[in-house]
């Protein structure tokens, strides 16, 4: 489904999804699909889910697995989760832990969910969180290129975009940016950036 919307995901790509809760659903679904065989559009890989917003829902993941006629227990065993509750933890996960985990678990898909949230809490110091955000993002970009994995980065709440500089930095490094918006029971996906056709912005209103 992702391929049909935004084009094929290539190893080494950074994808940024922002907007509604559907970003979460989509990123969780991708963790399931990543486990499919290459011929079935998967990556034949386990997935890592680094959760910056404490939003990962294993029950939903199990449902997706069942919808794809997969063994839900096995699918859940192949997704590795770590939650970050502070920006220091998230930075540490991305900058220090991600690379060894990728090596150890032979991961080809990493999701960094709600990446902006820990850096944008009202009670965190602006300057320091900005520096740590930069450290985390640079490290993520290096890891993606070096380890040839796909990374999906999400932000589920556009109110964090008051941190415009964060958004710009992610946008700069992303190969694909998509915005998801809800209109009642309709979810709209807007492709805001694609590395292959950098200046093309496709607005595709699809019933997802």
């Amino acid at each position: 489904m992702f391929d049909s919307l935004f084009g094929k995901l290539n190893l080494g790509h950074l994808v940024f999804l922002h907007g509604t809760q559907y970003c979460l659903a989509l990123s969780e679904l991708l963790c399931v699909q990543a486990q499919l065989a290459l011929a079935e559009g998967g990556l034949e890989s386990k997935a890592i889910f680094i959760d910056g917003g404490n939003t990962f829902d294993p029950c939903l993941v199990a449902e997706y697995a069942e919808q794809l006629s997969l063994d839900s227990d096995k699918v859940l065993e192949n997704i590795f989760v770590s939650r970050a509750f502070t920006y220091h933890q998230l930075t540490s996960l991305i900058a220090n832990n991600l690379k060894p985990w990728i090596d150890r678990l032979k991961i080809k898909l990493a999701v960094i969910s709600n990446i902006l949230e820990p850096y944008s809490y009202p009670d965190v110091a602006g300057k320091q969180s900005s520096i740590f955000f930069k450290v985390a993002l640079n490290s993520l970009v290096t890891t993606i290129k070096e380890k040839k994995i796909v990374a999906i980065v999400t932000s589920l709440n556009d109110r964090y975009f008051h941190k415009k500089s964060f958004f710009k930095q992610i946008a700069y490094h992303s190969d694909i940016i998509a915005k998801l918006e809800d209109y009642g029971d309709l979810t709209t996906a807007i492709l805001e950036k694609h590395s292959v056709s950098a200046l093309i912005t496709l607005v595709s209103s699809l019933r997802l």
Partner: protein, 754 residues
């Protein structure tokens, strides 16, 4: 008039008394001692505290060369509590908290945010001093001035429950502002009121400068140890300081004992997030050498009084003034930091160690919170309530649950395992968290015993307050295990505690069911049970058996004559776990989750529901309850009439709501935002996390600004929206009568409004 004395630097002297206050100054740590005679003595200890840096050895050497100040040295410390051996770290002495913070930031930059980790940076020097010297506030001590600093001899014990108190001098300070509207910093002082030892003193004559001069003179003469203020942090002291500037008196506005003037702080309070809610804390006003207690902004003081504050200060080793104006979590953390410091474990500046990687399947099993058993909506007769006492802290203590002990690296084959998850628990060391709560649990039990033993009501109230204060800390101890900024917390330890709690409740429920009891409801640490023909003794026997089986204290709360479990307002067939009311055999009413317990409900509604419950509480059983329902609806009618005929006092109509964001960030015209905007227009500073009180004057008005009026702007001519208040009344009444088929419309009909 007792005078404050100070040790001279040359001679060796000693003093005996209680540690009243302490804080760092340029020349070291200043400590105020209150003697038995009532004098105060100022001591200075030439002590400096240090921050620590960990990193690669050569990087540390390089950093030491860069810093090159006195006292910089390599030392051996535990960098993490779980470390098997000490590591080499760099110790850097600093003069104060600000220097520590600035230096730490520079080191981070110098290390490219990767090479160094910093420790002990944001621990208050006063607390660090208490930890290192192994003393505590309000401890009775002997201090001797030696050539190399102060020597302390502790003549007191934290374990003591009947400790002696110093002869404290307490003063209450209030200021009246010369304005009819909302007081502002630009308004002049009308009068200052002081209450000291039961005597009231009014300062009202002369001009504003005269009043300020008299105030300073009186404070110096009376020399109080504690100054209570209403809203002193947010308004009174900042106001006095600004008036002093206006009168060119700011250098002489001395309220503390230190002789330094009260300063106007340009800083703002703090908005912070806790359990998903934004809270606000004003900047505290610190009076050096005295204790300032803001009676409106100190949660612990409001709940547990001065006795509660002192108990927490003693047990958590944190100055009383800080206990009064900081979060309970900060006090609880201080108890943990003490154990870390005593064990040579460094305190991380920021918590960067993330959750251990787990599979999604593991997370599904692990992240399940507490035990619950849904109640059947409706009324139940003769139900008994059993509550585990401090269940979560007890489990943390007994099962050794702490960040460094759950899934420790040193005992993978430990026989101590977490149920359902099979996580190993350390067998080699006792965790910092269990050690820090051990004394709290012990003392709480002792105070409870004493309460039951003493007949003197004032003594009983004293023990009650101390116990209540300890309960706050214990409640916080579990929450902090999973709190993002807890220094020695970790989500895995939090998960483990929940798993043990679920196991305990399940065990207790099964035991009860095996004995023929029916589990009516269960949640987190409480069980509601019934059995046909069971007596109070049967329930007590069951409690004792559960205690024997679980080895965890469990209390018998009582047997309800009847108890009503309430449904969700949106889905009437679904119960709400924490919404119920009932009456014990002795007539006590217990209610949760209804209007009588909510803060966002106007007083008029709360009073009405309380009165309705009082009527229903006379019912001996469910059938008697039903027969009293018409009488309770008569109560509702009475309030409806009073509202309609506008006989309700305006204060009873105030609605209090929380600001979840800054005023300018509100996109929708919700009532609290409208009221907050009115205050901003009046130049009142309003911040996210503050509570706003208002009256609904016309909820349907097309101009949002006319829908409500902030409480501060209300006068006797303010109208109120009768229909809206009636709606609130009916909806709250319908909540308690919902299991019996009543809706808000039914109640309107019953009170002839439809």
């Amino acid at each position: 008039m007792p005078k404050s004395t100070a040790f001279s630097k040359e001679c060796v002297q000693s003093v005996e008394g209680w540690i009243l206050d302490l804080y760092p100054k340029e020349d070291g740590m200043v400590i105020w001692i209150k003697t038995e005679k009532g004098d105060t003595t100022r001591l200075v200890d030439r002590w400096r505290y240090s921050i620590y840096v960990s990193g690669n050895h050569s990087d540390l050497i390089d950093l030491a060369k860069q810093i090159a100040t006195d006292g910089v040295a390599l030392e051996k410390k535990y960098v993490r509590p779980e470390d098997p051996r000490k590591s080499t770290v760099l110790k850097i002495p600093v003069s104060n908290s600000r220097e520590a913070q600035e230096l730490a930031e520079k080191i981070l930059v110098y290390g490219g945010y990767k090479r160094f980790r910093l420790y002990n940076v944001d621990v208050k020097p006063s607390q660090m001093y208490l930890y290192e010297k192994d003393i505590f506030p309000f401890a009775f001590v002997h201090a001797a001035q030696r050539s190399n600093g102060l020597e302390w001899c502790l003549l007191d014990s934290q374990e003591e429950v009947e400790y002696k108190m110093p002869p404290l001098k307490e003063l209450t300070l209030e200021v009246k502002v010369a304005t009819e509207r909302i007081p502002k910093f630009t308004d002049e002082i009308k009068e200052v009121n002081i209450n000291f030892g039961g005597e009231s003193i009014r300062i009202y004559s002369g001009d504003e400068l005269d009043k300020l001069m008299t105030l300073v003179k009186l404070i110096r003469q009376l020399d109080p140890d504690i100054i209570y203020t209403p809203n002193g942090d947010e308004f009174l002291f900042p106001y006095l300081a600004r008036r002093a500037v206006q009168n060119e008196f700011s250098e002489k506005l001395i309220i503390g004992r230190e002789g330094s003037p009260l300063r106007v702080s340009n800083g703002k309070g703090t908005s912070y997030v806790s359990y998903g809610m934004v809270h606000y804390r004003p900047l505290p006003t610190r009076l050096l050498g005295r204790i300032h207690i803001d009676m409106e902004n100190s949660l612990l003081y409001c709940d547990c009084g001065l006795q509660g504050l002192i108990e927490v200060a003693r047990i958590c080793r944190i100055p009383v003034q800080r206990v009064s104006n900081t979060t309970i979590g900060t006090s609880m953390t201080s108890a943990q930091l003490y154990h870390a410091v005593r064990d040579d474990i460094l305190i991380p500046w920021v918590k960067a160690d993330p959750e251990d990687l787990k599979t999604a399947r593991e997370l599904l099993i692990a992240d399940r919170g507490g035990f619950y058993h849904e109640p059947k909506v409706g009324i139940h007769d003769r139900v008994c309530e059993l509550d585990f006492t401090s269940l979560y802290p007890m489990l943390m203590l007994k099962k050794n649950l702490s960040a460094e002990t759950v899934r420790c690296k040193c005992c993978p084959d430990s026989t101590e395992r977490v149920p359902e998850l099979n996580y190993n628990i350390c067998e080699k060391r006792k965790g910092i968290v269990p050690r820090s709560i051990e004394l709290l649990l012990k003392k709480r039990t002792k105070y409870k015993e004493l309460e039951g033993r003493v007949s003197d009501p004032s003594l009983r109230s004293l023990y009650e307050k101390r116990r209540a204060a300890l309960k706050w800390i214990l409640v916080c101890a579990f929450g902090y295990l999973g709190f993002k900024n807890a220094r020695f917390g970790k989500i895995d330890a939090h998960i483990a505690t929940c798993a043990f709690a679920r196991q305990t409740l399940l065990k207790a429920a099964r035991l009860a069911e095996e004995r023929g009891f029916e589990l009516v409801h269960g949640i987190v640490d409480s069980l509601w049970l019934k059995k046909r023909g069971a007596t109070e003794n049967d329930f007590i026997e069951l409690r004792d058996e559960i205690y024997r089986e679980t080895e965890l204290p469990i209390s018998f709360e009582g047997v309800y004559r009847w108890i009503v479990f309430l449904p969700s307002e949106a889905r009437r067939n679904l119960p709400v776990l924490t919404r119920y009311y009932g009456v014990f055999m002795d007539g006590r009413v217990k209610a949760r989750g209804i209007a009588t317990r909510r803060h966002d409900i106007p007083e008029v509604v709360r009073k009405c529901i309380e009165e309705m419950l009082t009527v229903l509480a006379k019912g001996e059983d469910s059938s008697d309850f039903y027969s009293r329902m018409p009488e309770s609806i008569d109560v509702l009618k009475k309030y409806v009439q009073a509202l309609k005929s506008r006989r309700i006092e305006l204060e009873d109509l105030f609605i209090e709501r929380h600001l979840s964001r800054e005023v300018h960030e509100y996109r929708h015209e919700v009532l609290q935002a409208i009221a907050a905007k009115q205050l901003v227009k009046e130049e009142v500073e309003v911040r996210a996390g503050q509570s706003i009180s208002f009256i609904i004057i016309n909820s349907e008005n097309k101009f949002s600004k006319n829908r409500v009026l902030a409480a501060e702007l209300v006068d006797e001519r303010t109208p109120y929206d009768v229909d809206r208040y009636l709606e609130l009344l009916f909806s709250s009444a319908a909540t308690i009568l919902a299991p019996f088929g009543y809706t808000a419309s039914d109640l309107k009909r019953a009170t002839n409004l439809l």
